[in-house]
């Protein structure tokens, strides 16, 4: 078990205990008339219990645990997550067209490191195609913003 797995198990134990406490406060009811917290309470207890086993059953194998990421493996997924979060934040402000153009742009610059010609062409044509297909033809009510 590597460090990441140990942290995950610990997090799941915490999640189970916290969710059980919250569920208990929702109203446990009794066996005849289970309340809204009854089912989530027992699920949380089971989650904490299973995660506890997961934590302790593998505690001796710490040394043999392989690292979760090789050198630089996490770089591109991390950047992609950042670009996507940025996209969701901007979508409501700038509208679909502009935010999608920026998504293509940043994706191709930061993650794929494409040539400038490809970046410009794909970003513009890609966004335009999506806008035409979904907003113009399929009439999907996409968020409006500064451009469209």
């Amino acid at each position: 078990m590597n460090l990441w797995e140990r942290w995950t198990a610990a997090f799941l134990i915490f999640l189970g205990v916290a969710a059980a406490a919250l569920a208990y406060r929702m109203g446990f009811g009794d066996l005849h008339h289970p309340g809204p917290g009854f089912f989530p309470f027992w699920l949380s207890i089971i989650l904490a219990f299973l995660s506890f086993i997961y934590f302790f059953a593998n505690r001796r194998t710490t040394a043999s645990g392989k690292p979760l990421w090789g050198k630089g493996d996490w770089g591109r997924p991390g950047l992609a997550a950042a670009v996507m979060f940025g996209y969701t934040l901007l979508m409501g402000e700038l509208g679909f067209f502009s935010s999608s153009f920026l998504l293509f742009l940043f994706w191709l610059i930061l993650i794929e490191r494409e040539k400038w010609k490809t970046i410009g062409l794909v970003s513009l044509l890609g966004t335009l195609c999506f806008y035409l297909v979904f907003s113009f033809f399929l009439k999907v009510p996409l968020p409006r913003g500064i451009l469209f």
């Binding site: 990441w4 969710a19 929702m26 809204p36 997961y54 979760l68 997924p77 992609a80």
Partner: protein, 500 residues
């Protein structure tokens, strides 16, 4: 309605130009997306699910979704044969001999046999579905809330047991999925649970948001790590139709693969994946020249491809008759039907006979459509494989975002999808299977409702789950599975001790 009149009604529905068109569109789109590396049937269905919502009619929707599912299953084999990257988990073994055949200039024969084998097996699977589903449905009518509770537990347990290496991790995922399903409004009292004052959480997490995040976005993060280098076979693809020699060699493999696939596909869990692995192992064992396997044996393509398609058909049986989806892709179809106001289960045949038989008939047609579609369009799929992933990835992100946004016109759902994508990526890195999580999420509300109804019926007496014979039988199987896995773990530890 007997089998004959049921099928006749089904064909009269499936053959209407509208349904036929959407069945065709589903198979075409499913193959097109399924061909792309890294996008398996679950991701493909989640990407295309919003299209089915737009159709409004549940019969047309499920006909289209079944087409997408079949198409995605077939699309995966093209990627395996030409790119040596499994398009989906069930095509992993197809890579072994399929890619070797392609390197030797026999890509056409491999693709042709995969298509024909898939067609035959898929049809055998649907014939099985036609005859097994109605009696199973009739039997399931005897089920009350306690039986449903126990059956759902059994379904989840089987999915956990068969879907990955670690049953403990699978169980953690299943319970986590059940817990996620409790977020939002309590279906009985109307109280909110785990919403922390956020309005967006009051309706609970949306299935599509979760599915697209875990399988669509999560897959992109994994692919971006870029450890697998693809090498597309560039030789011209000719002679798709198998020769007489090819056919003589593989007909047994197709039939055996279909049989293995059908029976394994009935079980909730990694049906198509296990079916293809098992069919390959059976073929290798029965072969007079087992050394040919791994070097480009046609039987090594025919058997697993037949098995995974038969399993795909068979996996509809537990969903349509018992209301238990066996794998993430079927869970997507299950959720799509729920959204359309149709609850799959024993009452489906009674309450919606047209939908039931329409789907079965459309599956016969879907198989034939795929054969007609795939052999002439192989050139197009090869061109699609040439589109660089650097362009495909943002395109997939946009499709997912539009799909999720269009449900409620709320940007927060898109944010939620990205969060689930990150969660899915981490879980996959830690070798947690996401299938049980998604299945549990879909079944969560059903499980809670049946538990609460059963306790209400029994006036709080939990022994109701073991005093009713069918429920007790289901729980006994669950107990046996838990016991078996504990014994296995202890046995492995004991075996490892002397060597350490």
């Amino acid at each position: 309605m007997d089998y004959f009149s049921g099928l006749l009604t089904g064909f009269s529905l499936a053959l209407t130009p509208y349904n036929l068109l959407f069945g065709f569109v589903g198979a075409l789109l499913g193959t097109a997306v399924g061909v792309l590396p890294g996008l398996g049937p679950a991701a493909t269905i989640s990407l295309l699910l919003p299209l089915s919502y737009a159709l409004g009619n549940p019969i047309t929707s499920i006909i289209m979704l079944a087409g997408i599912y079949y198409g995605a299953m077939y699309g995966g084999s093209t990627t395996s044969i030409l790119l040596n990257i499994p398009g989906e988990a069930a095509s992993v073994v197809t890579c072994i001999d399929g890619y070797q055949m392609a390197k030797k200039g026999r890509a056409g024969a491999a693709l042709g046999m995969a298509a024909i084998g898939s067609f035959i097996a898929g049809t055998i699977g649907v014939i099985g579905l036609t005859f097994v589903a109605p009696p199973l449905s009739a039997f399931a009518l005897k089920f009350g809330p306690p039986e449903y509770f126990s059956l759902t537990i059994l379904g989840l347990m089987l999915a956990t047991y068969l879907s990955g290496k670690s049953i403990l991790k699978g169980m953690i995922m299943a319970v986590f999925g059940l817990l996620l399903a409790t977020v939002g409004m309590d279906p009985v009292t109307g109280n909110t649970r785990y919403t922390f004052g956020f309005l967006i959480l009051e309706d609970g997490f949306d299935f599509l948001t979760l599915g697209m995040g875990l399988f669509g976005i999560g897959e992109i993060f994994l692919t971006l790590e870029g450890k697998v280098k693809a090498q597309l076979v560039t030789t011209k693809i000719t002679n798709l139709w198998p020769t007489l020699k090819d056919w003589t060699l593989s007909k047994g493999s197709v039939i055996r693969g279909s049989g293995v696939g059908f029976f394994v596909g009935l079980l909730p869990g990694g049906g198509a994946v296990i079916a293809s692995l098992l069919a390959y192992a059976v073929e290798k064992r029965l072969s007079k020249e087992p050394q040919k396997f791994g070097q480009g044996a046609l039987e090594g393509v025919a058997a697993p491809e037949s098995a995974n398609n038969a399993a795909a058909s068979a996996s509809f049986i537990p969903m349509l008759t018992l209301g238990i989806p066996g794998n993430p892709a079927i869970a997507m179809i299950f959720a799509a039907l729920l959204i359309q106001g149709v609850t799959p289960g024993p009452l489906l045949l009674k309450e919606h006979p047209n939908l039931f038989w329409g789907v079965i008939a459309s599956m016969y047609l879907g198989n034939a459509l795929l054969l007609v579609l795939n052999l002439p369009l192989v050139g197009l799929w090869v061109q699609m494989l040439k589109v660089p992933y650097s362009i495909l990835a943002p395109v997939i992100v946009l499709i997912c975002s539009i799909g999720v946004y269009s449900m409620k016109n709320d940007v927060s759902d898109v944010m939620m999808m990205v969060i689930f994508g990150v969660v899915g990526y981490f879980f996959r890195k830690l070798q947690f299977e996401l299938g049980p999580l998604l299945l549990a999420f879909v079944l969560g509300r059903i499980l809670e409702r049946s538990l609460r109804q059963a306790l209400l019926i029994s006036r709080g007496d939990v022994s109701i789950f073991i005093t009713r014979s069918i429920s007790a039988a289901f729980l006994a199987v669950v107990a046996l599975m838990i016991l078996a896995s504990i014994v296995m773990i202890l046995y492995k530890k004991m075996k490892a001790k002397p060597s350490s």
